[in-house]
Symmetry: C2
Subunit: 303 residues, 2 copies
């Protein structure tokens, strides 16, 4: 899935090594620096070993009793810094905001392609969280169908909205700000909380207080606020868990249009990989979390 | 979740250390050897740190906007051998059959408890597959509700049955034995195959050829045949993947009764932990598998 690099060896994501990646589709560059050379602070490039590609037609076919769909889509890598020695947590919140603005831009681009139904932004930090390249980066995979989990999440949110006439995430913000036990950080525009009955130890949800179902429609102020609270969360987590590996996942509405899509609320999921996933989880879809979210939130709050 | 032991240190699962576990609920013992002492070849004990316990009432309550259910159930450990130096793959198929017979027995026992809706048998082999104790063992968790994944699997199988008037697993056996490209081993009573579009590299499914939805109703001949094919599969996998860590999961019908439950077909899932799960998988519920099942089956077949 990702470009491989031996630890300590040549890194295709470092400045000066731009020719080792496919040509950039977007970059933040010093004035006058030409594409695919040095002088950048963020680069977005197609993944050299993509899970999906934009070539060809979207074809659904039969293979015996099974259904098959051609792997149409896009797989891009966001190289978050030219420096090999910096992690996302080390970047200023302004630089983290650059990353999320690039994500917004790429989402707007993918949305124009009628074959693309949704896109997934995610970051794998560290080997045990799935990163094959050490150099700080994240990824977007744009897909020809709504993913299984997004479909489930949208169905759940829609059902709640129908029943209660309110957004489940807005209700969660109300509930948690009054119960207070699972709040990790709260700012003017954001809340970070340890979700009730969460799957993973120290799992945290970053929710914008203003209801909006599409990340790509988010304003700069909200992106700035997300970057500030994410940096705080990364620092807190690093201090109590000793720089854990983690996954960071953006949950946002599909690209499909609908008059009734106001039931959803985009958010960011932060999953430190502290506990291991085992046979029980793979077999049941249920998760045994050794750290109650109330305890996790308290430790993170006080960090 | 599990009892901890320092690597190379004291092991609570070794013979002579029986007093370190809760009292056994079942064991295969030498004639005349008293419970909870040496002289056994298989022991089943309650987990010292259970995820669920049989104490108290099954209570469903509200906590703010959330629903809560008391953790009623059972969590048992099956210690597969008194010897610390043997893995499941090292045991004879007769000894492996002892394990599955014990699982059948415990399932029949759990089924009598009206609070229990389903049980999950699983094995975590090796640290990266979630095992906290090195000594070869597996586990059963009996739950007060049908697990998320079992519910999904039952719903999918039921839908297929309604549409096609046939069991989807029986159809899969027909399809795979005629296509041949994903078959790993076939015996008189069993088939091991690399599932179409499988999630994990070298993922394998063990399917009894005879249609039966409940593992606990399985006869001794089928359990013997399962043990033979599982040992073969473990040996093949160990030889080509250099003794990988793995999860082994039994998928069987819930304990609830129903006249129309013939649409399901119990099976065993074998998941070597070769690729790592990352942000894309956690965010989408989709899996990127670097080894096509057709290639995996070929390698395993020829091992």
């Amino acid at each position: 899935m990702e470009q491989q690099a031996a630890p300590g060896g040549f890194c295709p994501f470092c400045e000066e090594n731009e020719s080792s990646t496919p040509d950039e589709v977007y970059a933040l560059r010093d004035d006058g620096s030409p594409p695919n050379g040095p002088g950048w602070r963020l680069r977005v490039v197609p993944n050299k070993f993509p899970a999906l590609t934009g070539e060809g037609e979207l074809i659904v076919s039969k293979e015996g009793m099974y259904d098959r769909m051609s792997g149409i889509g896009f797989h891009e890598v966001l190289i978050e810094t030219p420096r090999h020695d910096l992690a996302l947590a080390d970047l200023s919140s302004m630089r983290i905001a650059d990353l999320f603005r690039a994500v917004r831009l790429r989402f707007c681009e993918f949305k124009k392609d009628k074959r693309v139904k949704c896109a997934q932004f995610f970051k794998n930090h560290g080997y045990t969280a799935g990163a094959s390249i050490e150099h700080s980066h994240s990824q977007i995979i744009a897909m020809p169908q709504v993913s299984k989990l997004l479909e489930e999440e949208l169905a759940g949110a829609k059902e709640y909205f129908k029943r209660e006439n309110r957004c489940v995430y807005c209700d969660m913000i109300d509930e948690e700000t009054s119960a207070k036990v699972r709040v990790v950080v709260e700012t003017e525009r954001f809340i970070a909380l340890a979700p009730y009955a969460s799957r993973f130890a120290y799992e945290t949800l970053l929710l914008p207080k203003k209801h909006n179902h599409r990340f790509e429609d988010t304003g700069d102020n909200t992106i700035d606020a997300l970057s500030v609270i994410l940096k705080q969360l990364l620092q807190k987590t690093n201090s109590i868990l000793n720089n854990p590996t983690y996954n960071l996942i953006l949950h946002t509405f599909s690209f499909e249009q609908g008059a009734d899509d106001g039931y959803y609320h985009w958010h960011v999921e932060f999953l430190p990989m502290v506990n291991r996933v085992a046979g029980f989880e793979w077999g049941s879809g249920l998760f045994i979390n050794p750290v109650p979210p109330e305890d996790a939130a308290k430790r993170l709050r006080e960090a």
